[in-house]
Amino acid sequence: MMLAAFADPVFDSQRTFRELLQAMARPAAPRRLPVLPPSPAPITPAAMAILLTLCDATTTVWLQQPEQEAVRHLRFHAGLKLTEKPQDADFALITEPASMPPLESFSRGDLRYPDRSASLIVQVDGFRTDSGARFAGPGIRDTQTLAIDGLAEPFWQQRAALSTQLPLGIDLYFVTAQQVVALPRTTRWLES
């Protein structure tokens, strides 16, 4: 039997969007997602909330683990297009960050249209704000401290390499069970 999506689609997606907007406007600061819809494995409810809020028939999505049940669920509730090529994706869902493809396999936009770039939703284990790396950039008053559990080391090297191509880049949403952290392309990793 198929699971349900948002119980109250108009307001659940509106409330989720406002958290995502504040998350993107205040990078590296965890925010609580207000609504967690049912979701088939391997997609977590937090990642599903973002997909249902932002994706529809006009967006192309790449799934790292396109399990049959998850694919059926997304096609039915969001009507989104799925792709097998990461470079074609508007949104990509990373369900196993340890084995994710390199960041440069996703679209970074082009210089006239840097917005035509991928947004990645990455399911991670947890956030810590009392230790970890320091981040700076637009949206951050001084610096913001954040550690993300469950990310492989090469990820940060790949992201640092992309930063030389600004304003081209990839925007990231990390989700745990209930929280979301956004890292837009402009957020700089200072040091550990």
Partner: protein, 279 residues
């Protein structure tokens, strides 16, 4: 609330399109994101860009304030406020401190904004280079290359001709040291409020089908030269109603013999100050 419309007038597909564009706009500060502007029950030029951004943001708990040239009681502001009260049933206010969402035409409120507030600007022409280069394909390329020499030449020609930079509103800014951006036709008096603002600022241009953003705590620099630094307007007068010497003043003609007075353009700020003085 009028039940025959979807909440906040726009359909959900349109809101999702706007929301995706807004998130990219915040991720690339000052860059103009194209979006599919919809026909609204107001003509282009009446704030349809701002209205569509507001509609994509609005929730049941929001308290909306709308200003036009700083005033809550002007035609454009009253109509937009009433529009959202009808199609979204949201609470509206005239007090800056009570609002969670403020839509504005041509001013930034005098009362400092907070982190939990969002400011939405109505923008007639989002492209700061448009009067200097009419072709969109060309201005896109200039932004791609961060080639803003044209604008510096324009400001220099002002100095050569008038002895100072004559641009007094829609004064061009550089956001996060990268994108040349129009602050919308706010007076340059308000430009310093854009720099490292605690509140998120979103800009919508309905006719031109572009939206852009300045995230909180982002460097916003008004263009200038070392020997001609950026300066804001100053008045010899104080507001004749509240006595403020710090706010942006409008010159109002009060009779048919040419008498005039200077008053705050921000009606809520002025009203609060008068109420405080009486208390």
């Amino acid at each position: 609330m009028t039940p025959s419309y979807n909440f906040a007038f726009l359909d959900e597909d349109t809101k999702r399109m706007l929301r995706r564009a807004l998130l990219k706009a915040v991720a690339i500060p000052g860059y103009q994101v194209p979006f599919g502007s919809r026909e609204m029950p107001l003509p282009y030029g009446w704030g349809t860009g701002g209205i569509q951004v507001t509609a994509a943001l609005l929730g049941r708990d929001d308290i909306l304030k709308v200003i036009d040239q700083g005033a809550d009681d002007t035609t454009n502001a009253v109509n937009i406020r009433r529009f959202f009260a009808r199609v979204a049933g949201v609470e509206t206010t005239e007090h800056t401190v009570d609002a969670s969402l403020i839509q504005t035409r041509h001013r930034i409120p005098e009362t400092p904004l907070r982190e939990d507030q969002i400011l939405v600007f109505q923008v007639p022409e989002p492209e700061p280079l448009r009067t200097l280069e009419p072709r969109e394909a060309e201005t896109r390329t200039l932004h791609a290359l961060a080639d803003y020499g044209l604008m510096h030449v324009k400001l220099y020609e002002d100095i050569a001709q008038y002895g100072h930079i004559a641009t007094s509103y829609d004064y061009p800014v550089l956001v996060d040291d990268r994108f040349l951006t129009s602050p919308s036709p706010i007076p340059k008096f308000d430009n310093p409020k854009l720099d490292r603002s605690p509140a998120l600022m979103l800009f919508g241009a309905g006719r031109e089908k572009r939206l852009y953003a300045i995230p909180p705590y982002t460097k916003v620099e008004s263009l200038a030269f070392d020997d001609h630094p950026f300066e804001i307007q100053r008045w010899e007068h104080r507001c004749e109603l509240c006595g403020s010497a710090e706010s942006y003043l409008d010159e109002v003609i009060v009779d048919d013999r040419g008498s005039r007075m200077f008053v705050c353009s921000d009606t809520d700020f002025c009203g609060d100050r008068r109420a405080e003085a009486q208390a």
